[in-house]
């Protein structure tokens, strides 16, 4: 592929990335940002570990929605198979919740947004297959998230007063299946990639679509710029969100 053609291709992909958000946006959808920074260390030929910090926003980039810290270990079982495990400490800004009486008009309860902690554990198996310069990978991840109980403010419209409301501790198991394709373009420092990920509990709850590019600098610095669309099956609890993602990883 000629240099000019490659540049044209990259430009097209970036344009697609930048405009990918807007055609899919509906009035009911939200938009936000994901910014992450991390370090990755190869301990042995097969074993590596990493730490990551992440920030997310919602409400059309105006409201912080999550701050997360993550640690993970991965092990190359076979040249094409990787096993990994990790822990995430998540600080979530839980969105407000307003409920109505049976008539659908009168207010019942209002719980303002609040920050809460969650603990997440995951184990994954990732199989990869390379066809020339295109790498296909399939990752199956089991994820368990625990939300400790806590007491938050709730306004009871019936009583006309604020009351303490206990959010009970709860655990949730999710199976995440991700199919990713990554293209290593010769003599190009930008590698486009795309993935589709399905989140299932007892049924499909969420679909994630990612389109992005990654860029490596001196094999130590890795940058990512991507679009991530999160689409929910039950929109009464969650709103579809279109996110602009930026990530940096320092490898040593």
């Amino acid at each position: 592929m000629a240099r000019s053609q490659r540049k044209q291709l990259i430009a097209t992909l970036l344009l697609m990335l930048c405009t990918a958000i807007f055609p899919t946006l509906s009035h009911a959808d939200d938009a936000g940002l994901i910014v992450s920074a991390g370090v990755s260390r190869k301990l042995t030929k097969k074993l590596s570990m990493g730490f990551d910090a992440e920030f997310r926003s919602r409400n059309n980039f105006r409201t912080a929605s999550r701050v997360g810290l993550a640690a993970d270990v991965s092990y190359k079982v076979l040249p094409w198979l990787k096993a990994s495990g990790g822990y995430d400490l998540l600080f979530d800004n839980n969105q407000e919740k307003l409920t109505y009486q049976d008539d659908g008009v009168s207010y019942n309860n209002w719980r303002p947004s609040y920050w809460g902690v969650r603990h997440r554990f995951n184990v994954s198996l990732t199989g990869s297959y390379k066809i020339q310069r295109v790498e296909l990978s399939l990752r199956e991840r089991w994820q368990y998230t625990y939300r400790p109980s806590r007491v938050i403010d709730n306004f009871d419209f019936d009583e006309g007063e604020w009351e303490d409301h206990e959010v009970k501790g709860k655990g949730k198991n999710v199976l995440r299946s991700r199919l990713q394709v990554e293209w290593d373009i010769p003599k190009c420092k930008f590698d486009p990639y795309a993935s589709v990920e399905l989140h299932s509990t007892r049924q499909l709850d969420q679909t994630r679509v990612i389109v992005g590019v990654s860029h490596s600098l001196k094999k130590k610095h890795n940058f990512k710029l991507y679009y991530r669309g999160q689409y929910y099956r039950d929109k009464s609890d969650d709103t579809n969100i279109h996110m602009l993602g930026m990530g940096y990883t320092y490898k040593f």
Partner: protein
């Protein structure tokens, strides 16, 4: 060039991150403030009331003429004095037969207007009247408890004038179980088939533990100067089938029976003066019909099957039980004056505890009207709501409504 790109990217990230400091909560401050409303305080009030002089109707053609005890001759007098398990009857009137069994007194009145002056104390006695002649009971410091039925039971259909002797305190109480007589009603501690007209400047306390407090199968009129307290843990407190006219007096009604009403009027209820406070602490009664269907009956401080008209006086009505309504009206309610304060603070597990519920129309042209419901509609009108102009306040909140002229 690379550095410029990296720094630009960092700047973009920082800008976006810093701009993420806005909360995305709905602005509920004003809405919440409108819900943080404490209800008007309603408590029983036995304090004296300054009232305009009671002016008896003197026009014989006036339909209310016969409601005034002053308009009948009371030269025929019989005294009944209770003393423990005995009753002493003095005075003889032709056409009046009196039988006593311990402190249970039965009067058959075939004469004209007769005045019975009742006094003394009994815990196992009663007064029962037969005869279709109007008559007067002057309660002159009487305390009568009948453990097996009504304390006073009038089977006649003519006017019963209950006069509370000035400065006296009187007390009537029924029993938890009634011994009924075939084809005779006894629906309350003070029961009358005919109309009851209260007058005088004394006090009457009626305690109901088996059935109602005060009940007429005709109508009840209460005149200025009277002080009445009704406490019913069983059925309705004060009830009349054909209407209630409150011209004055201090009336306190307290009820707590399942599905009971503090005040219940089957006919037109008119409040012209006085002060009526009804507090109902009862919950909704849940029954099963003969067909096996679930049936529920909610409590109300005031229940009116017909028109409710307030032209003066003070009405304070409070329901605190599940589904309890302040006013439950099956017809129109018209407020032309006076002060009407209604509060419902009950839960809504079975029924909705509305402040005022009307199956027809509501109109207000004067006076003061306040209604509050903690957990349901303060004012629920199935028909039209007509608020005359000229008000000083007309405030419709989610919990409370105030209209004042």
């Amino acid at each position: 060039m690379k550095q410029i790109i990296h720094y630009s990217l960092l700047l973009v990230v920082m800008s976006l991150a810093l701009s993420s400091c806005v909360k995305d909560d709905t602005d509920m401050a004003d809405i919440i403030a409108s819900y943080q409303v404490e209800p008007a305080n309603i408590e029983l009030d036995f304090s004296a009331l300054t009232e305009a002089p009671d002016q008896p109707v003197t026009d014989e053609n006036d339909s209310a003429y016969n409601d005034y005890v002053e308009n009948s001759p009371w030269n025929k007098v019989i005294n009944i004095d209770f003393d423990g398990n005995n009753a002493t009857v003095t005075g003889r009137v032709a056409g009046v037969t009196i039988q006593t069994s311990g402190a249970h007194v039965t009067v058959i009145n075939m004469s004209g207007p007769v005045k019975f002056i009742v006094s003394g104390h009994t815990t196992d006695g009663s007064l029962k009247f037969y005869g279709d002649k109007r008559f007067q009971i002057l309660l002159n410091g009487a305390e009568i408890t009948n453990p097996k039925g009504a304390a006073i039971n009038n089977q006649g259909s003519k006017s019963l004038y209950v006069v509370l002797a000035d400065g006296t305190t009187n007390r009537l109480q029924d029993g938890s179980t009634y011994t009924d007589v075939d084809e005779e009603d006894q629906k309350a501690a003070l029961f009358s088939e005919g109309q009851i007209i209260f007058s005088g400047k004394g006090h009457l306390a009626t305690i109901a533990v088996g059935r109602g407090g005060i009940r007429s199968d005709d109508y009840i009129r209460i005149r200025p100067g009277v002080s009445i307290y009704v406490n019913s843990t069983a059925l309705d407190g004060l009830r009349a089938n054909d209407g209630i006219i409150l011209d004055g007096g201090v009336i306190n009604v307290e009820t707590s029976g399942l599905g009971a009403k503090g005040v219940r009027s089957g006919g037109v209820m008119t409040v012209n003066g006085g002060r009526l406070i009804a507090v109902n602490n009862g919950n909704t009664r849940e029954d099963t019909s003969d067909e096996g269907l679930a049936d529920t009956t909610a409590c109300a401080a005031l229940y009116c099957d017909s028109l409710l008209v307030v032209t003066g006086g003070t009405l304070k009505l409070k329901a605190t039980g599940d589904g309890g309504k302040g006013i439950n009206g099956k017809h129109d309610a018209v407020i032309n004056g006076g002060s009407t304060t209604v509060v419902a603070t009950g839960t809504r597990k079975v029924k909705k505890p509305k402040g005022v519920k009307l199956d027809r129309n509501f109109s207000i042209t004067g006076g003061y009207f306040y209604t509050y419901s903690r957990r349901s509609d303060p004012l629920d009108v199935a028909g039209n709501t007509d608020i005359a102009t000229g008000y000083k306040t007309c405030d419709f909140g989610p919990k409370a409504i105030i209209i004042a002229y």
